[in-house]
Amino acid sequence: MIKKPKYVDESKCTGCTTCVEYCPVKYPDQFNQELSQNKAIHIYFAQAIPLATYIDESCLYLKEKKCSICQAVCKTGAIDFNQTPERVEVNVGAIVLSPGFEPFDPKLRNDYGYGKFENVVTSLDYERLLSPSGAYEGEILRASDKKHPHKIAWIQCVGSRQVNPEGGNSYCSAVCCTYAQKQVILTKEHDAEVECTIFHNDIRSYNKDFERFYQRTETLPGVRFIRSYVSIGKEIPESKNVTIRYSTPEDGVKEEEFDMVVLSVGLNPPAEAKSLATKFGIELNSHGFCKTIPSNPMEATRPGIFVSGAFQGPSDIPESVYTASGAGSQCGELLDYRRGKLSQERIYPPERDVSQEEPKIGVFVCHCGANISRIVSVPSTVEYALSLPNVVYAQEQLFSCATNSAKEISDMVKEKGLNRLVIAACSPRTLEPLFRDTLREAGINQYYLDMANIREHCSWVHAKEKEEATQKAKDIIRMSVARACHLDPLQDFELQVNKTALVVGGGLAGLTSALSVAKQGHEVYLVEKDTDLGGMARRIHYTLEGLDVQAYLRDVIRQVYQHPLIHVYTDAAITETDGYVGNFVTKVKSEGRVAEIKHGAAILATGAEVYQPTEYLYGEDDRVMTHLELEEQIAKGDERLLTSESLVMIQCVGCRNEDRNYCSRICCSESIKNSLKLKELNPQMDVYILFRDMRTYGFKEDYYREAASKDVRFIRYEPQDKPQVEAVEEEGRPVLRVTVTDPILGKKLEIDAEALVLAAALIPSAGSQEAAKLFNLTNNADGFFKEAHVKLRPVEFAVDGVYLCGMAHYPKFISETVSQAYGAAGRAITLLSHETVLASGSVCVVNESNCISCGACITACTYGAIQFHDTPQGRKAGINPALCKGDGLCNTKCPTGAISLKHFTDQELLSQIDAASGL
């Protein structure tokens, strides 16, 4: 590997950005889509890790050896122009490729006047306009006149779903429908008066909760969704507005003027895909993304090389997160024997017990380079701090976070016998862990720390009011000192971790997770309610991509049964579960016996069920079947079915309606899959698909096009004008007559079919509901599992140590299920591979003599961390510190003040309020 020089020593750079201010070179900001200027030395973006500057090729010194102002102003001596490219060699056992994607560039094909008309921007440009850290600090402004646009149009599918893919892509980019809706919502939040218009093809809200999101956008005042192909008309010379031509069935072709046009650009393969493929010896697919094996979308064509994120193909954030975790788990399968070999344990000096001492507070005030000190008079705050009660020592520091400063702090703590620390610097969010560590190094309990935020809360926001800012900094320090006096030493909890995993559900998701966890050396108990393993996958025979599902499933089940660490319980039910992260106890009833399983983690893969339709003669006429039943009949080679002259499929049966306000995600592609199979077996058959929006997202779009080219007829219907079905005789032949309005011809169409296939919704399983109750979990409005964070923690529950995957989360394809199952296994392994798990010491505690057992705290706690227990004085509330997350809600509910959140006690907080009031 070649490591490019940054010309900044990261270990010395504190990220104060003084150098950026003094750098004379202005340069288009790459992160802000070149919409604004940055400097030759800069931090790539505000949340970059490491938060350090680097110098790019626009630097005057690098070009002509002129200027080295940054070197002169850097107080830590971090600038190093002598850095050269570094060659790094590492030996590895597995590789994960995550190069992401490249946004489609509409300039290449001269699409929609981008690059020519100033007020035509891409969705990524627009994203940077919306962002508070973006080009105009969160103001949406037009490039031409820096004025707010009042009428904005979005054009969907730019570079995606192209019939003639020359320079563009044939696939669907999968994320643009929803990101455009997000942009509309954010735009309306910026300015409710803006008129927003989205020109679209199908609206593909196929993901969890996306249908509701779409409805929310659609019902905002001043928002129009128009289904139409469009072309750019002209730029109006005076106003620089842009016109768009489109057509609607009602009004025909129209031309309309907009202040700004946003192009919803698609996702291209990463620019370096080809060279990566050559270097790593892997293959790319026909679209230039990484080719993966059909049963595992994270495995490249060369063993030991895995991919995560959009290199597999267009994917959204949750998918990128769980494929990352899943790729990690598969690396673990290969490298488990070396786990922990590179890590080192920190050894801290023993803690001095200072709880009986008078508070002796040390105050360290940070200049943060010039970030604080150019506004706040640091020396006067130090002087002031020394005048406060219990403060025995105070000093200023250039950068409190620098390595030598941390050493200075811990030395002073020892020298002056300090037992409390106040650091007046930045937000605790960034550096509290560092200063806690500093205290531990000094042999003092880490909770004896309070951070006074005089940067974000003071110097940064009061740049023009130096005197008042100094006074405010003093106030903030006084509040911190007041609180520090009342701080108590706390110990974090080390909870032992039982190394065993419980997997609930023996479908493909559960099987995959169980195998991956077991392959990393952990015992697994796999519990299945049915008599056989396999779940829903037993009813699937082939995939669009050509996987032989039954052969694959048989192989996975064989591996599970043969693995010595996996114990399978079929015909089983969970009767009880108790405990917390690392230490669960679950009772499983199977074959008349009850087994008690102790486990550290649980993965819930309880699947989904198929809706049993009550509409379209289902259950009354045996020629009406669900898509799953059709697949079974095709696999059996049912003669009557395969010789049909005509077959109709109806999409969205039982969902995208009032009862189930979500899209079942997979049915469009399932119907395409089955129609292609039918056309393959009987090319003469007339196949009709009656749909609302075809949601063949990602690469599945290719198969949609293939079906259309094989004369599968697609007819769009509106939800208020659903198809009608009746069984009739036509010329002595019994047929199912399907009547539907053809939107193109604008009249009713009658199709006489021999078979009717309903794309029935997928609904949450009964097993998921039970599991949710047992493990104290929540479901979303549709009854699917609710993850800890939709985007960032997609396979975890809010309850620690419990993970989810598969269709219990939401309907999904086999490949997606496999990804998520590996992802859940990866998260579970992260827990199980440790001996102990650390829980914060800042948890609640009950003073039993004040507890009147009213239960107010218990009803307030969402974590189930508080329970009654019997004491000689009667029933009292008790806290399970392993479950308490320290939100402190219960404190405000207790009528007797018996319950108290440590580190945020009433006394600590009231002392701060008093200090703020100058008392």
């Binding site: 962002s131 107010a856 939100d887 402190g888 809600l889 405000t892 009528p895 309020i913 009031s917």
Partner: protein, 212 residues
């Protein structure tokens, strides 16, 4: 710690300390970091506290809650500037409302003493179980809420204020009514029930009420 940890007693302490305004910032609704959605509890508390302030004759606009994310710097600055301006307009606490210092102190003391009771009532009768900003706002502006409030906190607050006034010395019904801003008939209703419970007694000789 969550915005739901901000206790009624914290807000009261700030006002008792002479602060002219209190601002509470929380996460955006439905974007809770904990998953507990304590910000709705904070909203509940603020609306209840505003009602109490109104009852005491204090301007409820001195207390404000806003929810925003870490990326909402501009919004935060806007809100704080606006709130700062508002509080300045309202003037010093009490003075702005025309309440004298002593009366203000006794009013705030009376509510602070009632905090445990308010918590009980809040749980039993004034909590909106639905996590929806709209529903919570609707409830706190409803006739139903006003009735419940008057029956519970309002009633206790009046009695508590009367008792703390009487601690300073005996007063007539008219004097009490003037000091706490109720009608003489309301005051006499509270005095009657308090005499029955033997909290206060009527001093026939001096024609006024005193602590029992």
């Amino acid at each position: 710690m969550c915005s739901g940890r901000v206790d009624l007693s914290f807000v009261l302490r700030a006002f008792s300390n002479g602060m002219d305004g209190v601002f509470i910032g929380g996460c955006r609704y439905n974007e809770c970091n904990f998953g507990t959605h304590g910000n709705y509890h904070a909203l509940n508390m603020v609306l209840l506290c505003q009602k109490i302030m109104e009852h005491l004759g204090l301007n409820p606009e001195r207390l404000r809650i806003e929810t925003m994310s870490a990326g909402d710097g501009t919004l935060f600055a806007e809100v704080m500037n606006e709130f700062g301006k508002k509080v300045k307009e309202l003037g010093p606490l009490g003075k702005g409302e025309g309440i004298d210092e002593k009366a203000l102190k006794s009013k705030l003391e009376a509510v602070t003493n009632l905090v445990p009771y308010i918590r009980l009532v809040e749980r039993e009768r004034l909590r909106v179980p639905v996590k929806s900003e709209e529903e919570i706002l609707n409830f706190f502006t409803s006739v139903e809420f006003n009735r419940l409030f008057d029956e519970t906190v309002g009633e206790k607050l009046a009695i508590s204020q009367i008792i703390s006034l009487l601690q300073e010395g005996p007063l007539t019904t008219g004097e009490i009514a003037k000091l706490i801003g109720l009608t003489p008939s309301e005051v006499s209703r509270h005095l009657n029930s308090s005499s029955r419970q033997r909290f206060v007694r009527y001093d026939e000789g001096r024609k006024c009420y005193a602590l029992a």
